[in-house]
Structures are given as C-alpha cells and as structure tokens.
Symmetry: D2
C-alpha cells in the first residue's frame, strides 16, 4: 500500500464525494435543538491538509456547521496548558463502555469521569480550563486558540445554538450538579455549563476544521509533541463515545466526532482531515463521515495500525 | 525525535534494563495458582525484532513464562481465519470499561461480550476457533501457528499450569455457563474451557514472544495486512483491560498483556517488542513491563500517535 | 371490612374460580423445560386452611404441579434450623431490585446474594442446608419437613423435571460457579445444584401446598414464632422477585411464588392459602394466581396492612 | 405472645428509654447541613397513640426535630388524593436495591423512579402534588394535612433548614434535572425542589409525629382504607431505603425514616408510633430508633408477620 501523492488524493476525495452522494441511508440528524434539526441531511463535505501545507477539499466545504463535541479537543488542550497533569486527578483516561451522557458511571466511580470526552469529563475539563475566570474570558482564549490553529479569524460562536443548548440542557445540568455534589466542580454548575454550551456552539466549515487540526498532526506547533501524542491517544480510545473501538477498528485514525455531524481525524505526520455530514449512526457519530474516513484510510494506507 | 538505529537501540535496552533493576516497587505477582505465585518478582526481560530482522534483547530473555492472555491474540487470528467477519456477530469490538473478568457487562448486554480480549470474549472466540473439533486439534493448530510465527519449534503448553487453571477456574466457568445460557456458546462449557485453559498455559521466553509478534508488525506475512491492522486496533483499545486507555496514553503502541507478567507490543512496520516482569499493577498488567515500554516508546519515538 | 366466616369464604372462592375461568389473558406458561411447557394454561386452583383447621378449595386442587421456587421457603427453614443467624453472614435480607436470576448484583456486592429467594441466595442457602451431607440426605430431610407440614406422605420429587432442570441449568451453574469463585459456596457447584434442582422439582397439589404453609400462619408449630415472623417478612419483601413491591401493594400478604405457577400466601394467625395457575406475568409470577389473591384479600380484609 | 394493655405499655416505654440511654454507640448524626450537624446525639424520644386514643410517651418528646423524608408519606397521600392511580405511571412501587439518592437506577430504567420514597420518586411525587400551583399553595395544603392529622396547629417549616438544604442540594438538583431530561417532571427543577426542600424541613416533636400517623393505623379517617393499606405496604417494602428488608425482618412494622433521626411506624388497627434519636446507622436510618422499635415490637407482639 503505497503512500499517495497529492494529485492522486484529489481523485480519492472526488470518488469519496461521489460515493457518499449515492448513499440512501444517511443516518438521523440530531433533533434535540431546532438549529440542528433543521440541517439538510444531504450535505457532505471532506477536506484535508497535508504535511506540505496543501489543502484538498470536496463537497460542502464552505458551510459552517456546529462542531459540538469536537470542541472538547480544543478545550482539553487549553485545560492541559493551564493545569498540566494535575487535570488527571479529576478525570481519567479510560474508554467508558457507556453512552456519552451516562451518569451511571459517575455514581459507580465516585464522581471521577472516565475521560475528557464523555460529557461529564468535558464539563470537568471546562471547569478546570475556566479556573476563576469569567466564561467570556475562557471563551475568548478558546476562540483565539482555534482561530490560530485554523489560521482564520472568521470562526465564531453561534449564539442561537448556545441558547437552545442551554434551554434543553437538563441532562448536562444533571451531570454538573452531580459532579458538584461529589466535589469535582469548582465553579457553579450554571457558570460552567454557560461556558460549555457556548463552546459546543462554535461553528466552522470542514475546510476550517481540517486546518485547525494541523497541530495534532504535528504539521503546526501549538503545544508540545508529547501532549499532541497524548491527545491523539485519547481521541483514538475515547473520541467516538461507545463507538470508539469500532472507529479504531474500521478507520484506524485518532478522531473526534460531534453531534453536528462533523469528525476531525488525525494521520500523525501526514494529514489533518475533517468530514461533515449531518446524519448520525446509532452511536451518535456521523454515518457518512465515518464511512468516508474508512474509505480514505483504506485508499491512502494512513491507518496508524500498519 | 529521530528514528534510532540498531546500535543505539542496544544502549536503550541496556538503560531500560538497568533502570528496571533499580525499581523497589515491582508490583504484585499473580497468586491465584501456585505456578504463578512461585515466580521470582525480580526478573525482567525485554526483546525486540526490527524490520531488518535484527533481534536485540536484555535481561531475563531465556526463561519461559506463562503467556496467559497474550494467547488471546493468536486465538483471535485463528478464529478470524476460520470465521472471518462472522465472528463479530458473537463478540463486539469496544473497550469494556470494566474488569477483565466482569460478568456484569454480559448481563447488561445480553451475552455478547464487549471484545475478544475480556475473558468472556476470549471464551467465545475459543469456542468459535474450536468449531466442531476436539480441543487437542485446535490446540495443535494454535501451537503450529505460534511456532511458525516465532520460527521456533520449542514452544509448549505447561500442563501443570493448565491443570491449576482448571482447578481454580470457577469465575471462567461462571462466564462460560452464562454465555451458554445466553446461546452464545456452541460447545459445552467444560470443553471450551479445557481448550482455553491450555491456551493460556502456553509458555514462551520474551525472545520467542518478540519473534512471534512479527506478523503483527508486518515484518512477516501470516495473515492479511487488513486483518493485522484490525487486530492491532483491538489491542490498542482493549489489550490492557481497564488500563487500555492509560497504556495508549503512556506508551502509544498496540499491546496485549498477560497475568503472567508478559506484554507483547507492536510498532507497525518497525518492530515487534516483548517485555516480561511478573509483578502486576492495579489493572493486572505488568508494572515494570509497562514502564519499560513507556521508556522505550519515548526514546525511540515509535508511538503511533505522532 | 368485616372478617368473613367460613361459609361466606366458600362463596368467595367459588366467585374467584368463576372470575378466573373467564379471563382471556392467562399469562405465559414457562417453557424453558418441556415438562413445564406442556402444562395446560387453562388450569386454576385455590385452597386455604383456616385457624380452626377447616380447608376450603376450588378449581384444580388435585393436580400436582412443580412448586419450583416455593421450595426455597422450606429450604430456608431447614438452613435456619441448622445454622441459625449465622446464615445471614452469607446472604442478606434485602429486596434485590433486579431479576430473580441476576448475576450483576453478585458482582457489585462481592458474592453476597441480596436475599435467600433470588436464585443466588437460594443456592447459598441450599449449600448451607446441605452442610457436609450428601444431597440425598438433605432432600430426605426436606421431604420429611414438607410432608410433616402438609400432613401428607404423598409428596414427591418429579425426577423428570429435576433432570430437565439440570440439562438447561446453565444460568444457575453460572451463579454457582461465581459464588464458588467468591468463596461463598462450601460444596462443589455440581453437588449443590444437584440438590437445588431436585428441591425445585418437588410436586404438590394446591390442597397439599395450602396445608404445608400452616406453620407460617402459626396454625401449626414446626419452628419458633420468631423465625416464622422473619420468614414471613422475607416473603413479603422478597418473595416475588422484582414484583415483590407490587404484590405487597396489591395483595398485602407475605407470599412466595414459583415459576410453575404456584403461590403460597400467608395470612398470619388466620389462614394459609395456595393458588395455582400456570401462566406467568412479566415478573415471572402466576398471573391469575396474583389476581385471585388480590381478590381474596380484598373480600376478606386479610391484608396485613390494615 | 399476649396483647399488652396500656398500663403495661408505659413500663415497656420506660424500659426502652432506659436501655437506649445506656447505649454507647449512638450512630452518626447527619452533617451535610449545619442545622442537623448541631443536634445533640444523646437525645431519644418515643411516643405512641393507641386505638382508644391514649397517648404514651417517654424521653425527649417535646423537642421539635426535622422530619425530613418522613414528610414523603404525607406528600404521597396528597399526590394520590390529586392524581389517584395515575401517579403510578410516573413512579413504580418496587424496592430499589440501591442507596436513597441513587441516580443509577434512573438511567437504567428510563427516568421512572422505583418508588415514591427514594429521592427521585419523592421529587416526582412532589411535582405531581404541586400540579400547576405555586409551591406555597402546595406547602399550605401539606401543612394543613399534617396539622389535621396531628390535631395540632403548632407544626411549622424550619426556614433555616430549608435554606441550608437548597444550598447543598446538588445531588437532588442532579436528580431533578435528570428527571426533567427524561420527561418525568412537569414543573421546573428549581420550583419542584423549592417545594421539596421546604417539605423536608417540617419540624415536629415525636409526640406530634405519633399523632400525625393515626390515619395510617386506621385510628383516624383522613383517606380511604384502601389507600391506607397501600401506603403501609410501600412503607414496609421501601420505607427505609436499602435497609427496608432488614427493618421488616427485625421490626415487622410499616415505617418511614428520616435523616433527622425520626421514624414513624404503624401497627395497623393498634397504634401509631414515633421514635427519634439523631444518630444514624449505615443505611441512614436512626440507629437507636430502629433498636427501640425492634424492642417494642418484640414486647408487644405487634409485628404484622404473626
């Protein structure tokens, strides 16, 4: 399986786009807030940035979508920058074996979430990144980080999405109050969730998202290589909730999905890849996005597993 | 982080050996059967085979030890060879979030084990590999496979260990009868466990174990590259029980541990690595073995995560 | 709500029998062994013995049926006779909140079953009652106890049922091996289950069953009043698996059900009552049997709750 | 075991008081809010009202204490009065097998609490009793109900306790938001918990509490006898959290405990009994209160189990 040069890759992306266009079963669009429910399920986009800086794209690459849980990767980078390894006394690094918003695990394990990518773990991570600042200061830092990573100032929070999340966020409020009762939340639940809901409401295009992941492929230096490796390891084992094992098995790349239908995937040293298609599979990950990445990994031989 | 040439690697192994020799806390030797309990915790060995066929070793490399759960990797290769993807209707590919011998997950998920490396999943895999054969025929195939992989006829089953496992194997019998009651076991529980206990009782030296893993590093062709990638993905996400996330985070290589203190780790395309030290950490994986692999990955830059 | 004299009671039983005869939905007959699966679901019988020794019956009262889990009450009486309160170090006295054959609770609570009426607890109780005797000796004592209680020598074990139970008993074998692995089984799992399966295979008519419960209504003295009270308390809180709360709520009498469709219910100081109808409800308790007891308790005012 | 006349009972109470005064291990006083933490653990009081209206008391019977979860019994009576059996579509009637504030069960069973006495079930019950009223209107009805039951206008809410509960109530907020996310809460979580925290903060003396339970012993008619029986059944199976089976086994009376150290127990047709001692046992129920009731039941023969 030879390494594919850029010209060939353009063909691969075109082929992927064509194949995804033919798919009848496109999964279920998330419908818990009106802003996501209204998304057209026929959209599909893929974009990647190579080690030489080339960016290739196909499909709906200029439409901003809600990155949702993909934002947890950037929030984790910031929290690690502020706390370093102290963060790991408040959140573990193990796959959960349960749904993304499970509260059961918390009770069983005394308020220490399994990893920073399940909702409870992301809430703790946001609380840690927040420190004693106001949410707006944390969000400003987060946006600056993402804009720097993407090399693009035109990345914003969709305020309507943030408001809707807050309105329907009782499950996350349950998690936050539970964490608070267990002593694993410094700030007030409302304050932390305010920051969390805004973070999830960041909107990006797949082209922007692909560029923003270059630092995780070591194509750009924003954080230490050691930390990059560890974030990638977490994405591989925990990045797709209870579908993480399946994603590793089929795609073989570290990746983080969001309920908005986006996935950021990393081919270390080779490429940063973003896909987007709003319909989700049973595990809550983009159905076509996963299939597109599986096809890409197969054609390029980029799997980290040989 | 440059790629290390073989001469340098010998120094790294020597350094690792020296460092491990100094460690005071060497973990707890498994004591559920007398044969394991009697093992001297001061032993440590490491061995690796490179892409060019060179093998480097340090420490106790000629002492056979019980490979225990590492045998699940070879059993899985054989089961996949016989059933192909049909195996995945009987066992999933997700990390478990629970202890290696948990029966709880089985009840919660109707008798479909989470992955082939938790005990329940390995029992199902053994049942599948067994088919309608006698245990001795399956074990003969398994030994042939391992001997071919290692290029060494001197690999045997330790019958005393197999007998002891059978005597104290009530937890595994519980799992097997539970699977049988759920309709996920074709053969009689006793028959499957007979095969399973003998498989776990295979004894190898670290030097042999390192050679036997070459097919997973694509240094030797025994099974298809696609299957290799998938077994590696499973080892990365599920190979160290409820310490799999931690191992991926710290070491960054696919690996499979056994309660005898051995670990087989794979650096795809680069090396097959085996370590052995009998003392276990809280998750039931070799304490010094894990630390040695973490050191090795750091010094060589072999992490698959960049 | 006046206390009903015996003549009136005959009318009540006749009315109950008539009502039950009209019921279209008669529940599902247990089908895990052929002997139970073959039972005619149209059968219904009810019998009760009053404080003055009068016995009233209606319906199919001369047909022997498999008492199954109702036997756990007699087994418990024998175990308490041999061990006294020491039994409670091996099994608790709390409702389980889970299905009757759940293994999950065992793992969560380190091998101490919740109560003597869930299967795991009954297996531990049988092991305790067995002591270092052979199963046949325990079974002889058990039959003697039941025959004495019923005042009837014609009560036997249905050997065909016992054999069928043993053949399909993988779930119970799983429980027994699990208990053994946790150190809460003295005898070998096979030996204990041999006794357990035979105990469950005892066959009685409702008339015999009603008489055999007199000692629990204090109409006959076989064990101390203090022990009677405690067995009744356990039947009330745990006698109908995860339908115990519902049974207490609707019927208001201590009772123990069996998967053969029988229920033994106790009105302390007033009556010992047995019903039988083979069809089961969703919780695995006799559907018509429960309804008949609810009707009886309402008409007689025998509820222990006022 | 003869039925004890009133004169004898005074001696029994005196003896119980004396015995409880000698106890060294008095359990642990709840310390999650300052108002409870400050309670003197040496206090003990017992009071009972008989069928003829006689009231007998011993010990600290004039000190008001926080009735906490005992208030759930009165809240349930009001909710049943408003909704009747429709309430049972939102909350079940089974013991939980888990701690009183467990959130795990909710996730496992889709937001339907196991019974009205675990916290989640009481929150749902309060929401149902609240309807579309303001909390103050519900609380006024509740106080009127309790004052009528006790025949005493001097029963009030301790506002300091209510405020403290609200301040530290993150666990209950987690439950309420979880229930809301599952669609099993009509009102806003804050509103329901406002009512709930005030309800728990009702203060009574044991003398008042004993009188307020007369309607459950059928010594006073406030609700239908059928409903009385059912509330008693729920208290018996679920009134002491995960110690309910133990309480039924040892005491043999329907009862409801509160974390303030009070217990209300019912001897149907005979007596309404209240005890209070602030120290709690491992299950969160009054340690001396339970022992006193066990002694009382033994001496009077009031157990409902014969």
């Amino acid at each position: 399986m030879s390494r594919d040069p850029a010209p060939h890759l353009a063909d691969v992306l075109a082929e992927i786009q064509a194949r995804m266009g033919e798919q009848i079963d496109r999964g279920q669009v998330a419908d818990y807030i009106p802003e996501l429910a209204a998304t057209d399920p026929n959209q599909f986009g893929i974009s990647l940035v190579l080690a030489d800086g080339t960016q290739l794209s196909a499909g709906d690459c200029a439409t901003p979508f809600s990155i949702q849980s993909i934002s947890k990767v950037f929030g984790l980078a910031i929290a690690l920058g502020r706390l370093g390894d102290q963060l790991w006394s408040r959140v573990r690094r193990e796959p959960s074996g349960l749904a993304f918003n499970s509260i059961l695990q918390l009770e069983y394990e005394n308020g220490i979430p399994r990893n920073p990518f399940v909702n409870a773990g992301a809430i703790v991570t946001t609380d840690a990144a927040l420190g004693n600042r106001q949410p707006r200061d944390y969000l400003a830092e987060l946006l600056t980080f993402i804009r720097t990573a993407a090399g693009d100032e035109q990345i914003h929070i969709n305020q309507a999405v943030a408001r809707s999340e807050a309105k329907t966020g009782h499950r996350n409020l349950a998690l936050a109050h539970f964490l608070k009762s267990q002593g694993n939340l410094v700030n007030a639940p409302d304050l932390v969730l305010g920051a969390y809901f805004h973070q999830c409401a960041i909107a990006m295009t797949v082209a922007q998202l692909a560029r923003s992941g270059r630092f995780l492929s070591n194509l750009q230096r924003l954080i230490s290589p050691d930390r990059v490796r560890r974030i990638n390891a977490l994405m591989l084992t925990c990045g797709h909730y209870d579908g993480s094992g399946e994603f590793a098995f089929r795609v073989g790349l570290p990746g983080k999905s969001g309920v908005g239908g986006g996935i950021l995937a990393i081919a270390p040293g080779r490429a940063s890849i973003a896909v987007w298609s709003p319909g989700l599979n049973a595990q809550g990950n983009s159905k076509l996005g996963t299939e597109a990445l599986e096809m890409l990994a197969r054609r390029t031989g980029w799997s980290i597993f040989g």
